[in-house]
């Protein structure tokens, strides 16, 4: 975009470019809403069970854990990073929640604090490795994936931990919003809070600045190291919350919980239009739509009795479609 700001034509070009930019952004958001709507319509027309309120509730319950984890992953991606430690941190948080309440009979608030602390701690480790030491995010978070999974399995051993605290059950069963349970309300609440925070708080704006143009952010005097560490810590805490919700949903903690959730979170963000390769592109609330689209597809295939393995293959295809759509919308970079 070359603009000669001194002349009238220049100003007009600039105005036109700004309007075009606005329309394109609107189209992107509307586009994904339209895709979600079209899927809803198509699935509703071809299945008598899909639009039943019980099933809609199911979809929301099924995406709530990944949905919360995806908020964290989205913030990291927006800041120009990548986090592969999601699933392990979810498992670690689950194990701490369940072990402290069920085995050591501590109050839930203490257990939750400890779990979120540990999750934030892994996030801190990620942040230090990436920002202070300078290891590439994909490798640093792969290392912490192993460390967190190792720690979690060390505590868990070969047990299945069953939680008994009634709060867990309430989270998954008690309805608060229409017929949606508390855990879904927690997820939606987090999306509202984080979406607004990303727009109005200095933290949110700095995330976009750091992710969009690292050099410019550094030259403007933004605290790059501190910001990057903060982003990974916030993300870690969000994975911790996701783990807490997962315990509530299943009522049981086992070795393979959370496995591969990093990829589910990345897919939700990608389908929602967040860029994995260049930071600063995307919106947190669109990740929710991405998670919903994935959730609806999975749910529909389950209703139709499709083998879960082929559901995974479909998911890969969906991801490819999302990337292609992104390429068509935004053009070659």
């Amino acid at each position: 975009l070359s603009v000669d700001a001194g002349t009238v034509t220049g100003r007009r070009t600039l105005e036109r470019a700004l309007v075009a930019d606005h329309i394109r952004r609107l189209a992107e958001t509307l586009g994904i809403v339209a895709i979600a709507g079209a899927l809803l319509l198509a699935f509703g027309l071809t299945s008598s069970q899909f639009l039943l309120s019980g099933n809609i509730r199911n979809i929301f319950v099924q995406i709530s854990v990944v949905g919360v984890a995806a908020i964290g992953e989205t913030i990291v991606l927006l800041a120009g990073g990548l986090d592969l430690s999601v699933g392990s941190v979810v498992l670690l948080s689950e194990v701490i929640c369940a072990d402290l309440t069920a085995t050591h009979h501590l109050p839930l608030s203490v257990a939750l604090l400890a779990a979120l602390g540990a999750a934030g701690g892994i996030g801190l480790l990620n942040g230090v490795l990436v920002a202070v030491i300078g290891i590439e995010p994909i490798l640093a978070t792969l290392g912490t994936l192993l460390v967190a999974a190792g720690l979690a399995k060390l505590i868990l051993g070969l047990r299945y931990l069953q939680v008994t605290d009634p709060v867990f059950n309430d989270l998954a069963v008690k309805n608060v919003l229409f017929n949606l349970p508390i855990m879904v309300a927690v997820m939606l609440g987090l999306y509202v809070v984080v979406s607004i925070a990303m727009r109005v708080t200095p933290f949110g704006r700095m995330v976009y600045a750091v992710g969009g143009n690292r050099r410019a952010a550094r030259l403007s005097g933004l605290p790059l190291v501190g910001m990057t560490v903060a982003v990974y810590v916030v993300a870690g805490v969000l994975y911790g919350i996701a783990g807490f919700l997962n315990v509530a949903q299943i009522g049981l903690v086992s070795q393979n919980d959370g496995m591969g959730m990093e990829f589910q979170a990345i897919i939700a963000a990608l389908v929602g239009g967040v860029s994995v390769t260049s930071g600063g592109v995307g919106r947190v609330e669109r990740t929710l739509l991405g998670a919903l689209i994935v959730g609806m597809m999975t749910n529909y295939q389950t209703i139709k009795g499709i083998d879960p393995a082929f559901q995974q293959a479909f998911l890969g295809g969906l991801l490819l479609a999302a990337i292609l759509a992104d390429r068509l919308l935004r053009g070659r970079q």
């Binding site: 290392g143 190792g150 979690a152 393995a309 990337i323």
Partner: protein, 336 residues
């Protein structure tokens, strides 16, 4: 003599020396922890167990240098293996099954390469999608159960000569070939050029689309070979084959000293990285640790090596800078 010494200890080899030191330290540590592990068969076992990692890491060197990181190899090995199993079950011909398996791997490489080079999609995202869909198809091929391929392939792949199986020469040939390809051919030079500056490479008249597809095809070939070897070693195609292999391969390449940012690196370095990672994995496994300690120690060891590597690099860069400044200063003083 001095020239040789200067070359050997040049800055560009600092990563290599550091890695050799780490490998030696690892060997000593495992030797103390488990004296029986390091014996006459250790090398043979290392090669047999880590052939797919070695082959994929070789091709991954090209991927990383050209900045087209490929996340699909692990899933693709499982999918190609499943195709071998399915075709063998349906047709009963091993040759046909192997051809189909290798064809699948090459076809997937061609598809990924086409999507990246011609359609212009991002390599990480394309291969992430492949990572997911290929694993889904591999599991769906037989509801997650192994597909038996008879004993014909196993007898060939597991036939040993002084403890070495067919895999040893395959790995050696792959690395020699990879080294020649990267350092002595046009494709190698263009791989560096595309990774260094893709726009400049295109403007210099390099047909980047063709060479991008070739890089993905090279990965496809290594995936095909790995799939045949994996299926042969186990006598069946497993849906979980190659799980996490792509990330291991990336780690091996980076620990070897090739930068993830692209534009530089070498196949020989990857070989050292693979050796280090193989020793780490096998040594830890041999300690008979539970899964939890295995993952914990592995994670800590990798993070430690990556951290120290970067710190060492930074210190030598700093020294280099100081030396250069001092020379400039003395030159300025001399002229004044």
């Amino acid at each position: 003599m001095r020239a040789i010494r200067r070359r050997l200890f040049a800055k560009s080899y600092i990563d290599t020396w550091f890695l050799l030191l780490m490998t030696a330290a690892l060997l000593v540590a495992f030797r103390i922890a488990q004296p029986g592990w390091l014996n006459g068969h250790t090398v043979q076992n290392l090669v047999i167990q880590n052939t797919p990692l070695a082959l994929v890491a070789m091709a991954m060197t090209f991927s990383i240098i050209s900045r087209y990181i490929d996340l699909s190899p692990g899933s693709m090995i499982a999918l190609s293996g499943a195709v071998i199993g399915l075709v063998y079950t349906a047709q009963g011909s091993l040759a046909l099954a192997i051809a189909a398996g290798i064809g699948t791997a090459l076809g997937a490489g061609l598809l990924n390469g086409f999507l990246v080079a011609v359609v212009g999609l991002n390599a990480v995202m394309v291969t992430l999608a492949a990572f997911i869909w290929a694993r889904g198809l591999a599991i769906g091929a037989n509801q997650g159960n192994p597909i038996d391929v008879g004993s014909g392939l196993s007898t060939v792949v597991n036939a040993s000569w002084h403890g070495f199986t067919l895999t040893a020469p395959v790995v050696v040939v792959a690395y020699l070939g990879g080294w020649l390809l990267l350092s002595r051919t046009k494709m190698g030079r263009y791989t560096y050029a595309m990774g260094g500056d893709p726009t400049a490479a295109r403007r210099a008249g390099i047909n980047t689309a063709v060479y991008t597809v070739l890089i993905f095809l090279l990965m496809g070939a290594m995936i095909g070979a790995s799939a045949v070897i994996t299926v042969g070693q186990l006598g069946s195609a497993q849906a979980t084959a190659g799980l996490g292999l792509e990330l291991d391969a990336i780690i091996a390449v980076v620990i070897g000293g090739t930068r993830l940012a692209g534009g530089e690196g070498a196949v020989g370095r990857t070989a050292l990285g693979v050796i280090f990672l193989s020793i780490l994995n096998s040594g830890l496994l041999n300690l008979g640790l539970t899964d939890s300690y295995f993952q914990l120690y592995r994670g800590l060891a990798l993070l430690a090596v990556l951290s120290v590597q970067i710190v060492v690099r930074r210190v030598t860069d700093e020294e280099e800078r100081r030396k250069r400044e001092q020379e400039q200063l003395s030159a300025a003083l001399a002229t004044a």
